[in-house]
């Protein structure tokens, strides 16, 4: 009996992002036209930008770092890709590559600041935010950049390749990236090393991981993912503006919230990209459901705040209970466990 109860609670915590999504979907049933092909397709494709940023943020957080520059990096990616295509006249493929390369450079800079200059990642990326923002404004002179009527690739990204499935090309690319990162984290040596870095940096170093190099690569991957996401978003929209997400909820905040709801540990060493993706889907779906049920934006931010606060509160409580065990003698802990069934 006891065992079963414990099982349930841990299950809720592990799969909380799925449960969150489920609750949102149940409410979706109350609103008209939620479960239509068109709506689902539009919802899924609008998760794309947040997912790419979320991937970057999650990977960094697993390695025990915070990358605050992700939001501006995505904006910069969108600006660079459209600038390269429209202003410089390069083909799409090359422009996307350049945007991702810009991301890589910023990521390496972040990594160097964190590993070589030994600045806390929170501070280094905070400073990098200003630098990216300034560079971005200088590049586009404060103007929006658009594709100027060249909607070829835009239409291709929003087309649906498989009938009866509400997936457009943009979402399929996003999904491939999510699966790719999940496999990388779970099944490759480098992926496991990232968990080790976040779990305990010193142990990782003693175990023979080149921790500096791995950290730099992590930051690089994070920024590249964001730049790619921004670039695809820019093409999908047909426009890039330097002020994306300066008012309202910034993309960074959504990515951060989703990462935490997805169960990634802020101290590092724990987390899944897939869970982040699921929570982003849930958040985006929640926005849509709330808008159609309650109609006003005010409730969106209130509810997302409540969900996040609940998650944090719950996690904190669990930790607090665990803390109570610390300081007891091992033989007694066994006794305590026998008694409580924990």
């Amino acid at each position: 009996m006891m065992k079963k109860k414990k099982f349930n609670i841990s299950l809720i915590n592990t799969y909380r992002s799925y449960i969150f999504l489920l609750i949102v979907l149940i409410f979706g049933a109350f609103s008209d036209n939620f479960f239509t092909m068109f709506n689902i397709k539009s919802l899924l494709s609008s998760t794309s930008l947040y997912t790419f940023i979320g991937i970057g943020f999650t990977v960094c957080m697993i390695a025990g770092h915070m990358d605050l520059s992700v939001g501006y990096m995505a904006t910069a990616g969108a600006l660079v890709v459209l600038g390269m295509h429209t202003l410089t006249g390069l083909p799409w493929a090359v422009s996307i590559l350049i945007a991702v390369a810009v991301g890589a450079v910023v990521g390496i800079l972040n990594g160097l600041l964190v590993t070589k200059a030994k600045i806390h990642s929170f501070i280094a990326t905070l400073g990098m935010q200003y630098v990216i923002r300034g560079g971005m404004y200088i590049y586009c002179e404060g103007k929006e950049i658009s594709v100027k009527g060249d909607y070829g690739l835009t239409d291709k990204l929003s087309s649906v390749p498989i009938k009866f499935l509400p997936f457009n090309v943009l979402f399929i690319i996003t999904l491939i990236c999510v699966i790719g990162f999940s496999i990388m984290l779970a099944y490759t040596r480098f992926g496991r090393n990232i968990y080790m870095l976040g779990g305990n940096l010193e142990t990782a170093w003693l175990a023979g991981i080149n921790s500096d190099r791995a950290t730099i690569i992590v930051f690089m991957l994070s920024s590249m993912s964001c730049a790619l996401g921004g670039a695809l978003f820019g093409i999908f929209q047909g426009t890039a503006t330097p002020t994306l997400g300066e008012k309202g909820i910034a993309p960074l905040m959504i990515a951060m919230t989703a990462t935490i709801i997805g169960g990634t540990d802020i101290a590092g060493g724990k987390g899944k990209v897939l869970d982040t993706f699921i929570s982003i889907t849930a958040i985006v779906a929640m926005f849509s459901v709330v808008t159609s049920l309650l109609g006003k934006f005010e409730y969106q931010i209130l509810l997302i705040g409540f969900v996040l606060a609940l998650c944090v509160f719950y996690e904190t409580l669990l930790k607090y209970i665990k803390q109570k065990e610390i300081g007891m003698r091992p033989n007694l802990i066994i006794k305590y466990h026998e008694e409580t069934g924990k």
Binding site: Q237, T241, G248, F287, S288, K335
Partner: protein, 444 residues
């Protein structure tokens, strides 16, 4: 063993606390459940309302569908609705008033468009023609998309309209109030959605609006460049689209039934003319801009600059800065300018008349420079109060409620099958200390 006993006691304590914790857990779960139920309740209370709406709405299309079947009776019913709608529109234009006692749905102004310049991009920054494509929505009605829906011409009463604004702001609230008031007077149903300044969210809302198939969609686009794509999507879904407030690229008009909104450029030119006269045709002007890259940024910065260049070439542009909308930052900016330029600085041109005005006036007063002339765009309460107190010389009247009203009027006229202008501008006025009293109480 004493320590074991104490440990046992500890364990008991912990066990007790553990049950307490469990209680807390249960409490948290109950809270969670309460929250979800609360939402359900809210949703539930809204849901019937929203089911009623389609019911009410479905009557009108039903009348539509009957038309071809029993042609005479149907047409008569449609005709009745049309006549009633036309009467209602004519009456509402006369009767409806804004908070500040102006006509809510005043006649739109139609602007003449001069010849387009040959190569605007090569011109210098302060040349008027460089901004031609932004200033004039130069688009011929014949070039519009063939997919554009035709007016049903069966009256606006009972039609359902979705309005997608750009974000939460006091201005937006006034705009929404204007729209709702006008829609009520015209017998239309209106649903207003706000993406809170988020581009991705606005796209999603447009999809959502298309999905729920209203009779018309009105959008205040967040970005001028992206608007084309947004209106294209709505038009391709077979729903009539209307633009409002924010200037778009002119090719977006291909996918719009009509665009209405303030004529920022013309207003700024009048404002600049008045300021030029005030300064006696010479002096130094500093500019605080709107959000960088948006259409008001160009209109409210380069509108006056190009106007001065043409009419008052002796007026110099000293500096252009974008400290944003924070009073403290604008204050520092202006104080720095006063230090830097001293007596050269004669006037300050502001893109916003609430926080920017508050900060600027504070800085000027602190420095004791009463000779600096301040003009601002927009008419909020803060701006109007400042004009009344004599701190700001001129602001321009740009009715937020009237903006919504004009948009509603255009949509209604389209449903009534009337001929509507492709681009209709809002009426405007200059507010000075002489006439400021007639503009109270303010809209926001």
């Amino acid at each position: 063993m004493w320590f074991l006993e104490s440990q046992d006691l500890k364990i008991e304590k912990i066990l007790k606390e553990d049950t307490k914790m469990k209680m807390k857990k249960v409490l948290a779960l109950i809270l969670c459940a309460a929250l979800t139920f609360g939402i359900t309740a809210c949703g539930g209370s809204k849901a019937p309302a929203s089911t009623e709406e389609p019911a009410a709405e479905s009557e009108a299309p039903a009348a539509d569908k009957e038309e071809p079947a029993e042609s005479d009776a149907g047409q008569e019913a449609g005709g009745d609705n049309l006549q009633a709608s036309k009467d209602k529109l004519a009456a509402a234009i006369e009767s409806e008033m804004t908070t500040d006692n102006k006509q809510l749905m005043a006649d739109p102004i139609i602007k003449e468009i001069p010849e387009a310049p040959a190569d605007p991009d090569s011109l210098p920054d302060d040349d008027k023609d460089k901004y031609f494509s932004m200033e004039y929505l130069d688009f011929a009605k014949e070039d519009q998309s063939p997919n554009l829906p035709e007016s049903p011409a069966d009256g606006c009463i009972g039609k359902k309209v979705t309005v997608i604004v750009h974000g939460d702001h006091a201005w937006t609230n006034a705009y929404m109030k204007g729209w709702t008031q006008a829609a009520e007077a015209l017998g239309m149903e209106v649903e207003i959605l706000s993406p809170n300044w988020d581009q991705a969210m606005q796209d999603q809302l447009i999809d959502q609006a298309i999905n729920s198939k209203p009779d018309a969609i009105v959008v205040i686009p967040l970005s001028a460049e992206n608007a084309t794509q947004q209106f294209r999507r709505i038009t391709e879904a077979g729903i009539p689209a209307f633009g409002s407030n924010t200037l778009t690229q002119s090719d977006a008009l291909a996918y719009m039934e009509a665009w209405t909104g303030p004529d920022d450029w013309a207003q700024m030119r009048i404002l600049a003319d008045t300021l030029g006269e005030e300064l006696g045709g010479k002096g130094g002007v500093c500019y605080i801009t709107h959000n960088v890259g948006t259409s008001p940024y160009f209109a409210r910065t380069y509108g006056p600059i190009t106007e001065f260049k043409e009419k008052y070439p002796d007026i110099k542009t000293l500096d252009i800065q974008s400290p944003g909308f924070e009073a403290a930052k604008c204050k520092q900016q202006v104080a720095d300018w006063i230090t830097k330029y001293g007596d050269e600085l004669n006037a300050i041109f502001l893109a916003d008349d609430s926080d920017q005005v508050t900060g600027t006036i504070d800085a000027i007063k602190e420095a004791g420079r009463d000779d600096i002339v301040v003009v601002a765009a927009g008419n909020s309460k803060a701006g109007q109060d400042a004009v009344k107190a004599g701190d700001v010389r001129i602001i321009n009247y740009q009715s937020a409620e009237g903006d919504g009203g004009l948009s509603a009027r255009t949509v209604a006229a389209w449903f009534n099958g009337e001929d509507i202008p492709l681009v209709g501008y809002l009426t405007t006025d200059m507010i000075t200390a002489d006439n400021v009293d007639s503009f109270y109480p303010t809209q926001w």
